[in-house]
Structures are given as C-alpha cells and as structure tokens.
C-alpha cells in the first residue's frame, strides 16, 4: 500500500534498530567479555575458573537448592490454598485472595529486610517474644534468619503469590460441568476433586513450579540481604560481589552465562507446559462451578490460610511499622515511645533521600512513558501485521524476558563503560536498563489489548475515507486509552521496585530508592529503611490501585522485580 504507509517504513527500521541496540549490544558484549582476559586476549580462562573454583561452584549449588526448595514449597502451599479459595465454601475466601494479591506489592528485598527485623538471632522481635515467654537467656534464640533454610523460607514467602494466583485463576476458569459430569456418574465431592479437579490442574501447577523456580533463581535482593551476612553466596550475589572493588567484569560476564542459559531453558519449558493448558480452559459456555462443602473444616481451613498469610503479609508489615515509628527498631513500640523521629531523619537529615526519590520518579516516569509508547508501536505493528518483519519485532520485544536483571546489568555495564557510548555513571544507563527490562511486560499487555480491538473496527474507518493515521487517532487510540494508562502504571511501579540491575549500574550520583534502601542496610539505619520501604509500598499501592481502577486488571506488570 502507498501513501501514509511509506511513512511507517522508517518507523519499523528505527524500532528494530533501537531494540537491536537495546538487547544485542549488552548481550553481545557479555558474551565477548566472558571470553577475554584482563588484557583483552581471547581465553577460556574465565570458564575454567568458574567451573573449578569452589567459590563459584558453591553458589551454583546453593542457588539450585534454593530454587528447587522454593518451587516445592510454593506448590505445596499454593495448590491447596488456591483450591480452598476457588472451589470451596471457606469463609472470607475473597479476602484471602485479595490479601494474597496485595502481598505482591511488597518488593522481595523489603520482605527480606522485614523478616530480618522479625527473626534476627538477637534483636529479632519474634526471638524477643520467645525469650519473654520462656525466660530463655539473652544469648539464646528460637529463629535464626541468617541460614539457608531461613533464606528459602523468605524467598518462598514472596514467590508464593505468583503460584497461588496462577492456580486459583485456572481453577476459576475450569468448567464446572467437568466436575458435574463426574458427580452424575456417582463420584463424591472428594472423589471428584481427587480424580478430576487435581489432574486437570496439574499442568498449571507444573507451570507454577517453573515460575517459582525462575523467581528464586534470578532474585538478587533477598539473598543479598540474608545470605551475605550468613557467609554464603547465590549466583546473583556472587555476580554482584565481582563488581565490588576491584571489579572483575570478565568473570562476572562468564558467571552470568549459566544463569542466562538456565532462564532461557526454563522459559521454554514453561511455555511448553502452559501451551498445553488449553484443555483446562476449553471455550464454550459453562455454568458456575459448584463449591465443595467443607463442613466442620471451614474454620480450620480459614485459620490455615490466615496463618500462611501471616508469613508474607501480617508479620512483616507489623515489623516495618514498628521500626518506622520506634526510636529503637528492636523494641516494640508503645503509646509512650511512638515517635516520628525516623521520618524526620529520613527526609530532613539524610542527604541522599531526596536525590534518590527524585531520580526514582524521573526514571520511573521516563521509563513508563518511553516503554508504553515503544510497546504501543510494536504491538500495533505486530497485531495488525502492518509490515514485513513484524515477527522479528515481536521476538525482540519479548526477548528481555529471558534476561535476568542482574545479567542485563552486567551486560550494560560492559557495553557502556567503553566508547562510543560511555553512559556508565549517568541516569541514561539506568533508563536503558529499565526500558529493556520492562518492555516485554508492557508489550504483552498492549498486545492483548490490541487483540481485543477487532481489526474490522479500523478497516471500517479506512473504508469511510480515513487514513491509517487518522484511524489510529479516531478509533484505535480511544479504545486503547485505558490499557495504555494501565500499562504505564505497571511499568512505573516495576521501575520503583527494580533492584538487581540498578545495584550493578548505580553510582553515588545516580542512586535510586531501591538502591538507597539496600545501601542503608550496610550502615544499619533500620528506622530509615522501614520508612523508605513503607513509602515505596505506599506509592506502589496507590499506582496499582489506579491501574486496576483504570481496568488494567491483574498484577501482570509486577511479575518481574
């Protein structure tokens, strides 16, 4: 076609070029650097070090233990909870579901900090409570957060919601007739659950396990906060430690590759598993599923759910609020000791707070705007097959999904600390990192929004004489307005929480909120940490609520952190 379409050819080339630079440049340098030594000579030395030195092999082993355990715990807890919420008459099941979703608002590293406040061997609130109740000595403690099992527990706390939502949603969609058919043939409620519901939900559970595994694999914040004081490393913290002075970028690059490969493999496995889920969500009109009557088990089931919710939700928030309003973080705040001292310290005395907040807002706003626009253009081109090469675009836009934040951080560090683009130390490199990381989620969200706009709606405009651009402005844009706004909100929130790439790329001039919190951990300003964490969570909650109100739905934008 001619006319306005010719104008869009440059747009395609520009977008492809931009995405290529965004993704291929850091990844290319990552690969190249991993094969170079300090002098820039070609070598396999980095990999030899990696696979022979026990200081690299141990983190790999630890990471795998953590990931497998987290996946197992999450499935074991999320499956029965999802079933209770979606398929039984448990009281307050809607509230339980909402609270579980609300858990997603907490960035995992904030959760880890909160658990540190709760269960550090000496100062931990739970340990103090235990000593108070049992009269045990000051040197004794019930919990020790600085251990591998504790780390697994904390990571599982903040991975659980993803698996739970996946399971509960799939049980929601499972047609009730499939279970009714079993009842008609004489199956009791329990038999039906065991023989029909569970097998139908198994693929989703498997997908959930993979999601949990991936989350645990690529998480940086929680292990950095809990494992390093405990004296062990995971892959992500090991990569990070290679950037502490003196930086060993080549080794870090080599150490990033196993993480990257594992992630790609798992994502492939996940899409294969989820690709087969179709039989659980067969179309057609089905009735509401009948709820299983729990009888006398109704209250115990609810108590169990509330107990589980205490781990990622009630207890950590209690600890955060306590620390924020208490002069000494390890004391339970009372009417006499409540203070706003920590707020004054954070916002007035601490000189790095306001610049970090400003950087964060600037980056979040820019990333959300650029990311949403870029995703919009790509989604349009792909959904409408507007040009040759739209498949390449779709691939490039989803590729960052397979790049762990910390790996991207390493790649960008190497790519932009050398000519022609020396961006390290500026906000630009963080902007590039955030746009790259958030692009897939934004693209997927807008892509599905485009699929909801029937192409004939646009064609009708063109038949009546409107050009392609005019049709976009008059018809497509108004229909997508809410989806774009929701995407913007989700990207904004995701940037707010991003730590793993930022922690590699920040300098003292370009600190962001998440890095500031992470840094304060070193200096031990627990009050300020609690205040800043609550500020971050408050902003997140408001923006997510706004996005949900706009009709974006789901927590999809939060999936990566």
């Amino acid at each position: 076609m001619r006319g306005t379409l010719d104008l869009s050819r440059p747009v395609l080339f520009a977008t492809v070029a931009l995405l290529t630079v965004l993704i291929l440049l850091p990844m290319g340098w990552l690969l190249v650097s991993s094969l170079l030594d300090k002098q820039g000579e070609l070598t396999f030395g980095n990999f030899v070090t990696l696979f022979t030195d026990s200081s690299f092999l141990e983190p790999l082993e630890t990471t795998l233990i953590i990931s497998v355990s987290v996946a197992a715990i999450c499935c074991a807890v999320a499956a029965p909870m999802g079933w209770l919420v979606a398929r039984t008459d448990m009281p307050m099941r809607r509230t339980v579901r909402t609270l579980m979703m609300a858990t997603l608002v907490t960035p995992p590293f904030v959760g880890a900090i909160a658990w540190e406040m709760l269960a550090a061997p000496n100062s931990g609130l739970l340990n103090q409570l235990w000593r108070l109740l049992t009269g045990a000595g000051a040197d004794q403690s019930l919990f020790d957060i600085y251990t591998l099992p504790s780390l697994i527990f904390v990571i599982a706390c903040y991975t659980l919601p993803y698996v739970f939502i996946l399971v509960a949603n799939s049980l929601d969609r499972m047609p009730g007739e499939l279970e009714d058919a079993s009842s008609m043939l004489g199956g009791s409620a329990w038999q039906t659950a065991r023989r029909i519901t569970v097998p139908l939900a198994l693929p989703v559970l498997l997908a959930g396990a993979l999601v949990a595994f991936l989350q645990a694999l690529n998480l940086f914040g929680s292990p950095a906060i809990l494992a390093i004081p405990a004296g062990f490393h995971t892959l992500t913290t090991k990569i990070w430690s290679l950037f502490q002075f003196p930086p060993k970028a080549e080794l870090a690059a080599a150490a990033s590759l196993p993480l990257l490969l594992l992630t790609i493999l798992l994502l492939r496995a996940q899409s294969m598993v989820l690709g087969r889920r179709s039989y659980a969500v067969l179309g057609g009109k089905y009735g509401e599923p009948r709820l299983v009557r729990l009888g006398v088990l109704r209250m115990p089931a609810l108590l169990l759910c509330l107990f589980v919710l205490a781990m990622p939700f009630f207890l950590p928030y209690l600890a955060l609020f306590n620390s924020a309003f208490s002069r000494v973080a390890s004391r339970i705040v009372s009417a006499e000791t409540i203070t706003l001292h920590n707020f004054r310290f954070t916002f007035v005395e601490l000189s790095s707070t306001l610049p970090a907040l400003w950087n964060t807002f600037l980056l979040a706003t820019l990333t959300a705007t650029i990311g949403a626009l870029l995703a919009l253009v790509i989604a349009y081109i792909v959904a409408r097959k507007a040009m040759v090469g739209h498949r390449v675009l779709a691939f490039l836009a989803t590729a960052p999904l397979a790049i762990p934040g910390i790996v991207l951080g390493v790649g960008l560090f190497i790519a932009y600390t050398r000519p022609p683009l020396q961006l390290y130390g500026t906000l630009w490199i963080l902007l590039i990192a955030f746009v790259t990381i958030e692009l897939p989620a934004a693209y997927q969200q807008l892509g599905s929004a485009f699929h909801a706009v029937h192409p004939e709606l646009e064609e009708a405009g063109r038949m009546l004489g409107a050009s392609r651009l005019r049709t976009l402005a008059d018809i497509t844009a108004p229909l997508l307005r809410t989806a774009v706004a929701a995407t913007w909100c989700f990207v904004f929130v995701a940037v707010l929480r991003e730590l793993s790439a930022a922690v590699i790329l920040f300098t003292s001039e370009t600190k962001v909120l998440s890095v500031l919190i992470f840094d304060l951990k070193e200096s031990g300003d627990v009050g300020a940490i609690a205040v800043l964490s609550l500020v971050m969570i408050a902003i997140t909650t408001v923006v997510v609520a706004l996005a949900n109100w706009l009709g974006g739905g789901g927590g999809r934008g939060l999936v990566r952190s």
Partner: protein, 357 residues
C-alpha cells in the same frame, strides 16, 4: 457511481493460491453476489476490491480508473467505497449518530449538511430513536442497520458487504435480506455482496458468481444458476442435486443406473463419460411402472424421512447408486418397496465435459 471490473485477478500467499484468474464485470447499479463455501476465495476477492490487500496478478478498474494492480494499489480510504463488515465493526466508544456521521466528518462537510444527511439516513434505516445510544446498547438487528446507515450515508461509488447477515438469527436474517434489497433498489449503488448462503444470494442478487477453489465456477442470474448449473459443484451447492454418471449412447442419451436417460444441456459425443444432474424434487416417484417407460429408472426404497411439508426418500438404483428424492408428504412408501422414478428429460442436465464429480 461506476462500473467495477475485475480483470484476471489473482492473489497468492507464497505457494497457497487464494484467488485465481477472477474476471467479473459489474455494471453500474448492479448487485452481484459472490457465493461459495468457506475458503473459496470470495472474501479475499472482496478485500482485494476494498484495497486491504494487493493483488499478485490482474487489476481492478472502477469507472475506467485502475485502482488495484500488482504494481500500484490505491489505499482503501482513497476508493470512495463503503463496506459492511461481518462483525459490523461499530465503534463502541461512539454513539449511533457519531458512528454514522464519521464518514461525513472525514469528508469535511459543513455541519448543517452533516446534520441533514444524518437525519435522512437515520429515518430511512428507522434508527432516529436510537441516535444517542451506544452500539453496546443495541440488538443485533439494530447494529446491522447502523452499520448499513454508516456505509450508505457517504454515498459511495461502490458498496461492499462481507457476510453481513451471518451474525443474526434466522428470522432477522430473512427480514434484513429484504431490507438490503429495498435499500439497494432505492439508492442503486454498485454492490458486491459476499455470502455462503444460497437463499440469501437468491433473494438479493442481480447476478451471482459461484466461487470454488479461488475461481468463479459460474456467473449468471439467480435463475440461470439454479436452472442451468454448469458444473457438479454448482449443481450440488445450489439446491440439492443428484449427480449421476454414465456413458453417452448418442448425442443426447446417457446409459446409467440400469437404464437410459434423455438429457439436455449440450451435445454429447458417443461413448464419453457424462455427469448428469437432477434436482431431488424434480424426480417423480411411483409405485407401479408407468405406461411411458422413457426416462424411467427402477429402484428400491432404502429409507424415508417425514419432514412435514415433504418426504425425503433415499432410493437405490439397480447398479447400487443412491439417489435422494423429495416427494409430496402424502406419498408414503415403506422402505424395501420397489419404485419407479421418472426423471424428466428437460431436467436431466448433462454437465460440462471433464466434470465427473
């Protein structure tokens, strides 16, 4: 308004051929139906006319101007055509009035003219009362009328309809068929109408183009298509036909099914294989051999179904060929009985050579 001419039009996607060598002359003010099963290329042809896709061969000429050819395609917005979409494609964020007036606004007409034209078309399509409603608040039939109004109000040179009635229920569909014909008689736009429903085509079209496998099988008036199907495909697709195959014994007679039939349609060469089509309801079924034994075949009743207004028989000829016969409802013959079938010579149509389906 203008004539629309398709000249040797073709569209292929890689190896797959969607449309092949389609030539069609649509006179000014004519309503042509593209009729065929799904995948026959009718919608592709329509979208080629609309300009949404570019042809790989041939050209489209409207009013003497080439608007589509493999080298140059005028975009949809430059063609002054209107289209009714299968989904109606009403914009959900605009009211009925806004939807209908959109094309007028694009044409930058003065506000007074827009208001006037809008009022006129809403009254013609009986939508005045719904002008401020949103599409989501309308029934299927009302949506359909809005989509007609939106397409007609811009006074297009050509009107395209893509299975416009497929989303309506049976009663409404019949009503809208006449509505479309009524509006066409009133405005007389050159119209191309795509459907897979033969009765829809029969009621609305001046000319029907039956399409199969990307080609036009037969072009003609509804009567011609019905009375003189040129191929087994057309015979089967338009009204239930039996297709019998045998060998020609002379220029007009064919030996088949244990007898000999006089046929019409074309001159046969002695000895060639010929397919003959006979409609189910044109066969007379009898329980005794008639006095005049010409064009009579002997058969056994296999099965009969009472349909209320008719009886549907499946009978087996002496050579085991099965035939379907539609008989009056009072002719009740038990399965297994011997029957004699009279196939009137004027209704036994020898199909084109090489078409032995």
């Amino acid at each position: 308004m203008a004539t629309v001419e398709l000249k040797g039009l073709g569209k292929r996607y890689g190896e797959a051929v969607a449309v092949q060598d389609v030539s069609l002359h649509i006179a000014h003010g004519q309503l042509v139906c593209l009729l065929g099963p799904s995948g026959c290329g009718k919608t592709t042809t329509l979208r080629l006319i609309a300009g949404f896709i570019e042809p790989s061969a041939g050209e489209i000429v409207v009013g003497g101007r080439v608007i589509s050819s493999p080298s140059r395609t005028v975009p949809p917005e430059g063609r002054n055509m209107s289209m009714i979409f299968q989904s109606y494609a009403l914009w959900p964020h605009m009211t009925v009035a806004e939807n209908v007036a959109y094309g007028l606004r694009i044409r930058k007409l003065p506000a007074a003219t827009i208001a006037e034209k809008l009022k006129a078309i809403l009254s013609t399509t009986r939508l005045e009362a719904l002008a401020e409603r949103y599409p989501g608040e309308l029934s299927g039939g009302q949506q359909q009328r809005v989509s007609l109004a939106r397409a007609l109000v811009v006074e297009p040179e050509t009107l395209l309809l893509d299975e416009p009635l497929s989303n309506l229920d049976a009663n409404l569909r019949e009503e809208m068929r006449f509505e479309i014909r009524r509006l066409h008689d009133r405005y007389r736009y050159t119209t191309v109408y795509v459907t897979h429903d033969q009765s829809e085509a029969m009621t609305t079209a001046d000319l029907i183009a039956v399409m199969n496998l990307g080609r036009i099988e037969q072009l003609g008036s509804p009567e011609e298509i019905y009375d003189a199907p040129r191929s087994a495909f057309v015979a089967r697709f338009i009204g239930g036909s039996n297709i019998l195959t045998g060998a020609a014994v002379d220029a007009s007679h064919v030996a088949l099914g244990g007898g000999t039939l006089a046929t019409t349609g074309r001159v046969l060469a002695k000895g060639e294989r010929v397919s003959v089509s006979v409609r189910q309801h044109e066969i007379e079924i009898m329980t005794a051999p008639p006095a005049d034994a010409s064009n009579v075949l002997h058969a056994l009743v296999g099965r009969q179904v009472f349909l209320g207004s008719a009886r549907d028989y499946t009978v087996m000829l002496d050579d085991k060929t099965e035939l379907r016969v539609t008989a009056p409802p009072d002719r009740n013959i038990a399965p297994g009985r011997e029957v004699w079938l009279h196939l009137p010579a004027g209704r036994c149509r020898a199909l084109a050579q090489g078409d032995n389906a």
